[in-house]
């Protein structure tokens, strides 16, 4: 079999998924030597045109502006298989939080009001691609064949999807929730209070952080990072997005809280108070793909 032709692109995002690909180090060189023919990847190659036909498109980033949409559509047209790489492409990513704010308000803050901005300029409107009202995940504008969430996905996960496609088999990617890979122990006791903020206090090193009163989103978050935050004494903030079964990460978290605390005499209002910033806490990385989507008017955090 010949090499598979591959194109990569970065829409609205940080390029971290591409850096994760580079973190395969020598293995990336081996892949390039033996298995893939990288034809378009603006981060490291000088090719400026997206090829007309390719086997696989690896797309990082979400749809924030008109250029994002154009590139996504062009790649869908060209590619046999489209893979959404990373949480931005899969679920909108952290800048999906911008959906809590009116687009004009956001631009006004950045280009007119913020502290160091002088009074002479105006909101950019020429040359630059227009922002859409809302951030959207890739799957909302084009058909996506595979999703590899993670912020960023581990280099191994990116290698796995590419290798699986080459070998014409289903990729083996994390599907369970974060608790399954977390080294901490759960006692399955009711959560009575969220009493700590991230990084406060001295948590017991072996016990579940949620059960110790930290706002840990592990039960509602997909595995894949080897529980990087809980392993260092920090609650999960949900950067891998929801699990495959869950439609909505925030709802899944509330569901998890309710299911362990149902029979206990827990004051739900007080419990939620401990989360301090409800929309930010429940949807830090997946607001754009939540069932709330862009309905700013119904989100309390505005």
């Amino acid at each position: 079999m010949g090499k598979a032709t591959v194109a990569t692109a970065q829409l609205s995002s940080c390029v971290g998924c591409h850096v994760s690909l580079l973190d395969l180090h020598e293995r990336l060189l081996d892949l390039l030597e033996d298995a893939i023919d990288l034809q378009y990847c603006y981060v490291v190659l000088d090719q400026k045109e997206i090829p007309e036909e390719i086997d696989v498109a690896l797309i990082e980033g979400s749809i924030r502006n008109e250029e994002d949409l154009e590139v996504a559509e062009e790649l869908r047209e060209a590619a046999e298989v489209v893979v959404a790489v990373g949480t931005c492409a899969c679920f909108g990513g952290v800048h999906g939080l911008a959906n809590l704010y009116d687009r004009e308000e956001l631009l006004k803050w950045v280009y007119e009001e913020s502290h160091s901005t002088d009074d002479e300029g105006e909101v950019p409107s020429e040359v630059v691609p227009k922002l859409f009202e809302y951030v959207r995940p890739l799957g909302e504008v084009i058909d996506v064949d595979y999703m590899v969430p993670g912020c960023p996905p581990k280099p191994d996960a990116i290698a796995e999807i590419v290798t699986a496609l080459l070998e014409d088999r289903e990729p083996e990617l994390p599907r369970t929730n974060l608790c399954e890979e977390c080294p901490r122990e759960k006692e399955d006791k009711p959560i009575e209070e969220i009493k700590f903020r991230t990084g406060q206090g001295r948590p017991d090193p072996d016990k579940c952080l949620l059960e110790q009163g930290y706002p840990c989103l592990g039960p509602a978050t997909r595995a894949g990072c080897e529980a990087a935050c809980p392993s260092r004494g920090l609650p999960c903030r949900g950067c891998n997005g929801p699990t495959e079964e869950a439609v909505d990460q925030g709802a899944a978290f509330l569901d998890a809280l309710a299911s362990v605390s149902f029979e206990a005499d827990v004051d739900v209002e007080e419990l939620l108070e401990g989360l301090v910033d409800l929309p930010g806490r429940l949807y830090m990385f997946s607001l754009a793909s939540s069932i709330l989507k862009g309905h700013r008017d119904v989100i309390g955090g505005k």
Binding site: C14, D46, V110, T117, R197, A228
Partner: protein
């Protein structure tokens, strides 16, 4: 009027476009447009400030650690808490790890193809994959250095890309002793590799300049981005080169001190102008005004604002650089030369910190914090230059206002100025191309 458009810009992070406008046989204007904005300064508002270092690392997947740490410092300021020695040194080491990865990526993966493969080579071959094929030894140095940097960030920050450990008052966990020992054992060799790589890199830059002089009778240093601007960067202990913590020094194009300021005084010195055709604002020195007060940051600027390096091998390379170009360098093509010197400096400094046991001590990594109303500014030198994070919080410790001036943002007006300058010098060729 006709236009030459360069889009997308390649071998960079971020979305940009260069537009060269030609009319009546002349280059009329050159615009450098940045095409993306996500609005972090807006959507961190309302978030608990302790989550902000974790959120803003996502501004840049290459220099995430610099954002993470500038935000940590700013939130320390809001909550009025200082990390203990261990926490301070773990953050600093994390920063150096990122510097090593980013400088290795920037030089070997992004810039070196122009020098090693050559600017006139087939664009399809002008990339790091080709370097690894044609010069496997250099390819190996590039990979080893990047891996070392990423491994340091993972050991100190919990994740190589988007580290998590930084919290108000320090870091959430110390460095595991085994990880520390393993990294320390590699450190000396990495200093050597960085030094070898720097020499090879400097040689490749020299050869490219030489080749152009001979083949095209063109002095690239003079033609591509020799512009007069101010320069800005951190210094510490007088005017010593600094990556992580100190005061900001600004020098004029001749190298004379223009001003120096503490992080929380940045608004007295810097203002930004919104530009109708770009999502990145143009910063300038308030006192001088726009556009005369344009300045540069990054490796070249850092070597211009300092008078000495912190470590031996880097000092040796710094002295050669000063002998060659003088104390204040206004060329642009020397920036990668400065970058490989800094890569040696970062490896030497990391080795120094890895020797210190305090980074492995459990009760040295953080001070307790309480969320409160406050105002804080954090400045670090990101790989590509001075990085400023500024937050205000309410009594619940939620962010009410945020202002960021990101490393490359400082450089955007100077990049545009350099492009205009080069376009004027190459006007005849560009006019032909446009027709």
């Amino acid at each position: 009027m006709s236009e030459i458009k360069i889009h997308p810009l390649t071998r960079v992070e971020g979305h940009g476009e260069v537009i060269i406008e030609v009319e009546g046989g002349e280059v009329k204007d050159v615009k450098f447009a940045v095409l993306a904005v996500r609005g972090f300064e807006k959507f961190v508002q309302g978030r608990p400030a302790e989550e902000v270092p974790y959120i803003v690392s996502r501004i840049c997947g290459i220099c995430q650690t610099a954002h993470h740490l500038a935000a940590c410092k700013a939130v320390d300021g809001c909550f009025d808490v200082e990390p203990p020695e261990g926490g301070h040194k773990i953050r600093w080491l994390m920063h150096l790890g990122n510097m090593i990865h980013s400088h290795a990526l920037h030089f070997y993966f992004l810039a070196a193809p122009d020098y090693v493969i050559g600017p006139d080579a087939d664009p399809l071959r002008r990339n790091v994959v080709q370097i690894a094929k044609e010069n496997p030894e250099l390819g190996k140095i590039a990979i080893e250095l990047r891996r070392f940097g990423q491994d340091i960030v993972e050991a100190t920050g919990g994740k190589a890309i988007h580290p998590v450990a930084g919290i108000p008052g320090g870091v959430s966990a110390p460095v595991d002793e085994e990880d520390r020992d393993e990294l320390f054992n590699r450190a000396e060799e990495m200093v050597e590799r960085a030094y070898e790589g720097a020499q090879a890199g400097i040689e490749a830059i020299r050869e490219t300049l030489e080749e152009y002089r001979e083949k095209h009778d063109l002095d690239l240093l003079e033609t591509l981005g020799n512009i007069e601007t101010y320069h800005m960067g951190l210094v510490a202990d007088g005017n010593r080169h600094e990556f992580y913590d100190g005061e900001v020094r600004v020098v004029d194009p001749e190298g004379n001190e223009f001003t120096r300021f503490q992080p929380d005084e940045y608004l007295d010195v810097i203002a930004e102008r919104s530009i109708e055709y770009s999502y990145v604002k143009h910063p300038y020195l308030k006192e001088v005004g726009y556009p005369d007060g344009i300045y540069r940051v990054g490796p070249g600027a850092r070597l211009n604002v300092c008078e000495e390096m912190k470590t031996d091998r880097a000092q040796e390379l710094y002295e050669e650089y000063v002998d060659e170009f003088g104390e204040c360098v206004n060329y642009s093509l020397t920036i990668n030369w400065a970058r490989v010197i800094e890569l040696v400096a970062a490896c030497e400094e990391a080795k120094m910190l890895l020797e210190d046991d305090v980074i492995t001590e459990e009760d040295e990594c953080k001070e307790d914090y309480e969320p409160q109303e406050g105002d804080g500014v954090g400045i670090v030198e990101a790989p590509r230059g001075t990085l400023i994070h500024h937050y205000k919080t309410d009594e619940e410790g939620r962010v009410t206002e945020a202002n960021l001036i990101v490393a490359t943002t400082h450089n955007v007006p100077a990049i545009e100025m350099a492009l205009r300058d080069a376009a004027k010098k190459l006007e005849d060729e560009l006019v032909k191309l446009a027709e």
